[in-house]
């Protein structure tokens, strides 16, 4: 159980694993990102969506396991970037390695399946995206840079 709030410089938010809290998570991300004057509105929106996707997956994983633990969202503001990590406590055995080459979104017939957009969207919306398996669940790290980067 690593829900401890480490005394770093960042913001940590812990929420019950319920969909009702998604709008709150987005509000926190927007408010945190607004503290970084280098981040434009469009990039804040990108980050808001990416974090919402990661949190949605975490909520789903908790629901599948019936886990009552909370989900933690950590935001770290640095001069040149904002870094958000979503950590769940649902040890589903999910292996992010299996997702290394997801079907591109424009594959014919792709839309026959209603799901599976979350991780690809996080990948394109964030400048960096990493999924790590933890003993107790999954950690998704999303980074958005303040200055324009290769990713427009």
């Amino acid at each position: 159980m690593t829900t401890d709030l480490k005394p770093t410089g960042g913001i940590t938010l812990a929420i019950p694993a319920q969909p009702e809290y998604l709008s709150l998570v987005r509000a926190v991300v927007a408010a945190a990102a607004a503290l970084d004057p280098g981040l434009g509105d469009a990039r804040i929106e990108d980050l808001r969506v990416a974090v919402s996707e990661a949190t949605t997956n975490a909520i789903e994983a908790h629901a599948n396991l019936g886990s009552e633990e909370r989900i933690t969202i950590r935001c770290d503001l640095a001069d040149d970037r904002i870094e958000v990590e979503v950590q769940d406590h649902a040890a589903t055995g999910f292996d992010p390695g299996d997702l290394e080459s997801p079907a591109p979104l424009d594959t014919p017939g792709r839309l026959d399946y209603e799901g599976g957009f979350g991780i690809p969207l996080m990948r394109v919306l964030a400048d960096e995206m990493k999924i790590r398996s933890l003993d107790h669940g999954t950690a998704v790290q999303l980074v958005v840079y303040a200055s324009p980067t290769a990713k427009d």
Binding site: P19, E20, L22, S23, R26, E45, R48, V49, S52, E53, T56, I59, E60, L105, D106, R110, L111, D112, E114, G115, F117, G118, P120, L121, V124, L125
Partner: protein, 114 residues
Amino acid sequence: MLLTVRISQSGSWTILSVHGEIDMATCPQLRQEIVAQISGGNTHLVIDLGGVEFIDSTGLGVLIGGLKRARSQGGDLRVSRVGDRLEKMFALTGLGDVLAVVDLADPEQAQGAA
């Protein structure tokens, strides 16, 4: 943080005007409304997204599901008043290639993909 869905008619098209954010918390409501309309025989739907500033993949999934269901009943599902953010989401996911954007006044006339 509820979604509101207002129903109106434009010719043979049923318009669902959505207000709010479409995410995992609110999408069951939209899905139910779409299913209810199609089950009731209104198979030609326009989702008016003018009041929607946020949609994520869960919300996009509901639109895809509605599109498939409408088409399977000989109808269609189109969208209207798509803002910049939603347009970006449609473009990134390829959903824009299959979902026609229409004018609320004339849903028959597709303006091209989202």
